[in-house]
Amino acid sequence: MVRSLSKPPDGKPIIRTVVLQPTPFCNINCRYCYLPQRNATTVMSLATIVAAFKNIFSSGWASPQMTIIWHAGEPLVLPVSYYEAAFSAIEVSRPLDLELRHSIQTNGMLLSQEWCDFIKKWHVGLGVSIDGPRHLHDANRVTRSGGGTFDRTVAGIRLLRRENIPFHVISVLSEASMNSPEELLEFYLSEGIEDICFNVEESEGNHISVLLNGSNVRTRFHRFLDRFWTLSRRTSKIQFIREIDGMITRIFRPEGVPVENAQVEPFAMLNIDCHGNVSSFSPELLGLKHAKYNDFIIGNIVSDSIESMRNSPAMLAMTRDIAAGVEACRKECDYFSVCGGGAPVNKLSENGSFASSKTSFCTLVEMVPTDLILNALDYLEGNFDKAAAPALRLSGPVQV
């Protein structure tokens, strides 16, 4: 059984995550980046931030546990003082019974001692984008002059480790890295990276993924993930592989526990650009263009109430079409109970419509991990005497 995210009795939405774009500017120019405004140096004003959270907190829609993600550009190009002021201002308006967590996704190149002190002070969650060893990373993650960024990113990661700041990494898998699970693992181990997320290079915005449009990508990713999973677990050094371990919690859950897919739930994710423009659903929609949906903008956080955004033509149209897409997934897809309806941005990019179902993206991120886990479970069940006991003795009860 799949239910939507829990809602209060009056049917109001719940805002669980706020994605803020402090600036669209990025100090590098990744070859696979889909963000169209990454050269723009606009900065979200403190007044906009204050207005945003006054609006959000007064709406009555804020989740008691809310995450703020600073992203959609390189957040660390702005000074620490900017975030000190922003975080402090948000704290002033935060209801006492609302728990708030800040998180930052960064390329890590600008990390410094000052940043580390700030991250510790505010308990900021941190994700670092790195694509593996130098030749894989520098193949795509380059400066505007085409130079590599590996050294500075690794320097940032080493600083985080020295400061005992927990972080995860996101690695985009491209054509070359898909063939290199052993090399990637060796790199992570050598840098003490324990929590790993893979994003298969996608077609989004103006970027067309060679990998995703290539042949046998499902088979190739299956092989990659299978190999990486198996090798990683032999080392006992890797604590979290999002694609596998995130799926385990969705597969091994009791009946009646909903699978959460915030990307298809109106307002579960509130995404705000540096001008205060608001979108919802998949965060990548922010900044993309589409006439039918008013470029996915449902209002402005400074001038419009969140309640009024609910009835904006763009929001109504997106809600209707995305819900139709979820319903199509529910009817057509064996994996719906662990997915909950896919990623709208990928449906639109790949299929041309929110009101569609299967995508290459969901084939990779939902179906392949599920298949791997179910295959392993099938094997375990078929081989209790000779396989299961030794395997479980190796793992033992583990607190994670």
Partner: protein, 139 residues
């Protein structure tokens, strides 16, 4: 939905190990080539298989909730109807393993599968934290 005995056995062994334990156990198991000699017992449709697993987890959960302090090994052996060494402690039942997963409400499962993980902060790396970055791509 009826849960096959083999699935009950697998769940009873896996769940106490927590997410990392399940991941490790299945990875080790999966390292060998699949043996499909018992394939006839396997569900053929993914959706049905997933449903069966959830039904099994629910049954185990119900046993835990109805019996907060007893010897779960005995109860689960009865559930499985095949008793296979609970009392040997091979899978950690007697070392608190059970409590690593069944206490849904307190985050004992703990790693963010359905929202409890949020409270595990600052254990960012293994917790609900990971629920947020599922959506950021090519970045």
């Amino acid at each position: 939905m009826a849960v096959r005995r083999t699935t009950k056995r697998a769940l009873a062994m896996l769940l106490p190990a927590g997410v990392l334990g399940i991941s490790s156990a299945l990875a080790f198991t999966h390292a060998e080539p699949p043996d499909r000699t018992n394939a006839s017992e396997s569900a053929s449709v993914v959706a049905d298989r997933l449903r069966e697993i959830r039904a099994g987890v629910s049954e185990m959960n119900a046993i835990a909730q109805k019996n907060p302090n007893p010897d779960f090994g005995v109860l689960l052996a009865e559930w499985i109807n095949g008793g296979f060494g609970w009392r040997n402690g091979g899978w950690g039942w007697h070392n608190g393993g059970w409590h690593n997963w069944h206490n849904w409400g307190n985050g004992g499962w703990g790693n963010g599968g359905w929202g409890n993980g949020w409270h595990n902060a600052p254990n960012w790396g293994n917790g609900g934290w990971h629920n947020w970055h599922n959506f950021w791509h090519n970045w």
